[in-house]
Symmetry: C2
Subunit: 235 residues, 2 copies
């Protein structure tokens, strides 16, 4: 974006700004496109089916989210929407829905989930938008895993008090390397025994346990992202 640049409005954007929010020509609007920070813009044309904004000046620089992915097994619609919204608020660069051995979902509505991530960014005054990927199989993702990306996974059946290594020795998450990370949340039924064995054997995987009570998958997602942000992120 640049000062003086005009931005055409689509029909539903015009409806929201002029029909719902009752803005008129001359009204101020905050704009972001995910790349150029936040800009103050002015309504320079307002119609029923369209309109135009004109950029005036940058009000905030572009911020980058932590280089964190969230991998989760989709659950019921409302709770899946919730996970996407909360992940976007807490600060995640990419959301990757995964199919595990015990995941029921065969497909997801990627466009709808992406729209939730956009709305969360608008609500929270974020300048970036969390990217939502299509559903992928967990085993294939792990087979092609980028070597430098660490993976924190939540294992209800993991008996250690807090954190542990694949060989069972505990290691504090605060000592873990910075840089690219992912957080993996299993489905409501947990991981299969084969998945657990495979995950525990991965050199880049860090098992964690989230307290003594059983958490729903959506609660576990928010709690795990908070834990990561506190230890390794920008909180």
């Amino acid at each position: 974006m640049a000062s003086g640049q005009t931005v055409p409005l689509e029909r539903d954007q015009a409806h929201y700004l002029f029909g719902v929010m009752r803005l008129t020509e001359g009204s101020a609007v905050a704009l972001f496109n995910g790349h150029d920070g936040e800009w103050q813009a002015e309504v320079t044309s307002a119609g029923k089916r369209g309109g135009e904004l004109t950029c005036r000046s940058q009000s905030r620089p572009q911020a980058a989210p932590p280089d964190l992915w969230l991998l989760f097994a989709p659950i019921k619609k409302t709770r899946t929407d919730f996970i996407v919204e909360k992940a976007a608020e807490i600060g995640v660069a990419r959301i990757q829905p995964v199919q595990t051995d015990f995941t029921n979902a065969e497909r997801i509505r990627r466009d709808r989930l992406q729209a939730h991530a956009v709305e969360a960014a608008e609500q929270c005054g974020s300048t970036y938008v969390t990217e939502v990927n299509d559903l992928a199989r967990l085993d294939r993702l792990l087979a092609n895993w980028p070597a430098e990306r660490q993976l924190m996974f939540c294992d209800e059946a993991f008996a250690e008090a807090s954190y542990g290594t694949p060989d069972g020795a505990p290691r504090p998450l605060g000592d873990a390397p910075r840089g690219p990370w992912a957080v993996l949340i299993g489905p409501e039924g947990g991981f299969s025994e084969a998945e657990r064995k495979r995950l525990h054997a991965l050199p880049f995987a860090w098992p964690v346990q989230l307290g003594p009570r059983i958490l729903r998958a959506d609660t576990a997602a928010v709690a795990a992202l908070t834990l990561w942000q506190l230890h390794l992120g920008d909180w």
Copy 2:
């Protein structure tokens, strides 16, 4: 509860167990009453409008939640329900909805929120039930605050990097006293300036900030409870 003790079923319980779950006489059921742990029971009478369970043996001892209260300003219905459900899962002894200067809610449906807390306990295999109080004014609660209970409050406008004292010097939450605590989450519009001043001046109050992005009130509640559990609770 005691071995051999019978428990009569109300109409909706009978409908759920025999109509929805299709249990019959002789089926096993896990029971808890919030005081006596978890018991294995058997269906000894199954009817359309009622029935009877008979306790066999205790399967788990009674667990106590951490002595933690959650104070929050009610927001929209779905998000308020969500806060109650998540607080019960993460582990809170009591939920106290509060009216602050910027809270819209005049009243809440205490019975409905309590039912959500019961359902969360059932879902999560908990043996205790989080108690939901009626709506109360924050200023009155603070005026009669129990001296030994610490209060963590989330202040979006608080400029310190992480935690701070009323006089501005940071103090790590890990050094905070154990024992009774409360976590306070403000309304979507934040606390009023008068409330902020009062909270920061309280000797038992610990301000925290939850990352650089603005969180919705329900996200802030889950993140703050996770933070408390990690530093001061039983996680």
